[in-house]
């Protein structure tokens, strides 16, 4: 059974800050989701290979050939802040 500690841990991994009432609500909702997963786990899937996606495709690759990308101006258009022709972020390290 999922508890508030689990939710707090998952929230921290996802960099989410949850208030106490949100925490309670999330715990209840996640518990329901997990119960649903448990329900699905009742199916016998021993003969079904693990499937990461539904496409019946393998080996999709491309040639090692350079194609034009974004101009620097366009690349930086979404940056919250720009310095030195780069994305500027709060100081790391």
């Amino acid at each position: 059974m999922i508890g508030e500690d689990d939710v707090r841990y998952v929230a921290r991994l996802a960099r989410l800050r949850l208030e106490q009432d949100e925490m309670r609500r999330m715990t209840a909702e996640l518990a329901k989701i997990l119960a649903h997963i448990d329900k699905m786990s009742e199916l016998d899937t021993s003969a079904v290979p693990p499937t990461a996606h539904v496409l019946d495709l393998v080996d999709v690759t491309r040639a090692d050939r350079v194609e034009p990308g974004l101009s620097r101006e366009d690349a930086l258009r979404n940056a919250p802040a720009v310095a030195d022709d780069s994305f500027r972020i709060p100081r790391m390290g």
Binding site: V58, D59, T61, D64, R72, S86, F87, I89, M92, G93
Partner: protein, 496 residues
């Protein structure tokens, strides 16, 4: 003595042996990134090679670079790994500003290749290290910290991100903990770097961080089969720092254990200024990467016939070349390792030998003056004005007695200075060996007359003095005299 017995550390209570494993990352020299068609470059202005995929714009889809798979397969096969028939990419989830998707596309439980080994030399001993796995992933972007290269924004309390590197194909090689000493770890890495360079998949430039490594290390009582708790060492960006970091971590672990303490499994950061390691931030931040299959990429099925083709096309590997140099050219192992390890130097040497000169003499000049010249000038083998033909010509002048060995060193220096042919240099500077008997007899007579006491010692039976007198004649002739002739003439003069 063996590399393993050499590595035993005497503690206060007992003898300990180190157990070391390495994780090596290699950036591939493909034209484009791992999952998009942006160019892989070095030194271009920041953020000039990006696209929606490597900037993680919503909806952008990665596609695997076929050449990166081929290059990675070359590495895996050269490390004697089994290439797995089915490859799956996974998402490795963590937040960091150099990783715009907040996950790195990597491989997890279905990697490219497993269960290989790499043989390397430590002194006269050949060691084998098992390779756990080789997998493919993408490199992170480059963070430039304020106050560092981006001095212009110093004081503004920020960092900047350059995404040119983000998404560069990266190979991770993980070894088993089979390396017996810090010195062996250094040899392992140097020789593995030679191997990867030889495969033509990466220049492994150290300054550019194209090849990087982490080490894990533990100690155990000598003879114990069990593994102790290990620590992981980071930030060792030269071979020397790797060895230093491991050498400083060994006594620390031993001291903790002998005091009855326990080693914490933690990550330590090497500080090259102090030569010591310090723990990285708290273990609270222990990673939980929540790997799951990358839904945007389909599995790769490795066709065995294609893998065989890649294997058949592998070049001669450095380890095989070293053995060939020993057998074919009669080189000692240590010399064969120096010359035969790095591909570019090996090719230069063989080009010299192909000119028909004595292989051993050619090896001495290649390892001696030529290598010193490359290091001093910061050149790669095969670059610069000393071509194989020119070095061979110089070696031939020495072998034929046209120049003495000591004069040949001057010729070599002037070949570089004047960008010239050795024969012309000899001619222009009058460096030819003096073999004119009459002239040498005069010089010998002068030295004999000038050193009566040494002459007396020699005649009294003190043979070693001869060397001193030969030296005096050499000096008098500016190093150009034919030493063998001087030797003979001196003996004749003294025995008279």
């Amino acid at each position: 003595m063996t590399a393993a017995t050499d590595a035993i550390v005497r503690g206060a209570t007992r003898d300990w042996e180190p157990v070391i494993g390495l994780e090596v990352h290699v950036e591939l020299d493909t034209a484009t990134k791992m999952f998009c068609s942006c160019a892989v470059t070095k030194g271009d202005p920041p953020n000039t090679h990006t696209c929606p995929v490597c900037l993680a714009h919503p909806g952008a889809l990665p596609v695997v670079n076929q050449r990166a798979v081929e290059y990675a397969t070359r590495i895996a096969l050269a490390l004697n790994c089994t290439v797995r028939p089915r490859n799956v990419f996974h998402r490795k989830n963590y937040f960091y500003p150099d990783l715009p998707k907040a996950y790195q596309i990597s491989q997890f439980d279905e990697p490219l290749a497993v269960d290989g080994w790499f043989e390397y030399w430590v002194g006269d001993e050949k060691l084998r290290c098992r390779v756990n796995r080789v997998h493919m992933e993408e490199d992170a972007a480059k963070l430039v910290h304020a106050g560092g290269e981006a001095g212009r924004i110093a004081g503004s309390d920020s960092s900047v991100v350059d995404f040119n590197r983000g998404g560069t194909p990266l190979i991770e090689i993980v070894t088993e903990p089979d390396i017996p000493s810090p010195a062996a770890a250094r040899e392992f890495l140097q020789q593995m770097r030679d191997l990867v360079v030889e495969l033509g998949v990466s220049a492994c430039t150290m300054e550019e961080g194209q090849v990087r490594w982490d080490a894990n290390i533990s100690v155990r009582p000598v003879g114990s089969g069990e593994l102790g708790t290990r620590t992981e060492l980071k930030n060792m960006n030269s071979f020397r720092f790797l060895q230093q970091a491991l050498e400083s971590e060994l006594p620390r672990q031993i001291a903790v254990l002998e005091a009855g303490g326990r080693i914490d499994q933690e990550t330590l950061h090497f500080d090259p200024d102090t030569g010591t390691t310090t723990p990285l931030r708290s273990k609270e931040e222990a990673h939980d990467y929540r790997y799951f299959p990358e839904p945007d990429l389909v599995p790769l099925v490795m066709d065995p016939a294609w893998v065989d083709e890649v294997r058949a096309a592998l070049p001669e590997l450095p380890a095989a070349r070293v053995v060939r140099f020993m057998e074919r050219y009669g080189l000692a192992r240590a010399d064969a390792l120096v010359i035969g390890g790095p591909g570019a130097l090996a090719r230069f040497y063989e080009a010299v030998v192909a000119e028909g000169v004595d292989p051993k003499l050619a090896a001495n000049w290649t390892m001696g003056e030529y290598l010193a010249h490359l290091n001093a000038a910061g050149l790669e083998p095969g670059h610069g004005h000393v071509t194989p033909e020119r070095l061979a010509a110089l070696v031939r002048l020495v072998a034929d007695g046209v120049v003495s060995t000591s004069a040949a060193k001057d010729v070599f220096a002037k070949m570089i200075e004047e960008r010239g042919e050795p024969a012309d240099v000899v001619e222009r500077h009058g460096l030819a060996q003096l073999s004119d008997v009459a002239a040498l007899e005069a010089a010998v007579a002068e030295v004999v007359a000038g050193h009566p006491s040494q002459v007396e010692q020699y005649r009294a039976g003190k043979q070693q003095v001869l060397g001193f007198l030969v030296g005096q004649v050499m000096k008098a002739t500016g190093g150009r005299a034919n030493p063998k002739l001087v030797n003979d003439l001196l003996r004749t003069a003294l025995d008279r």
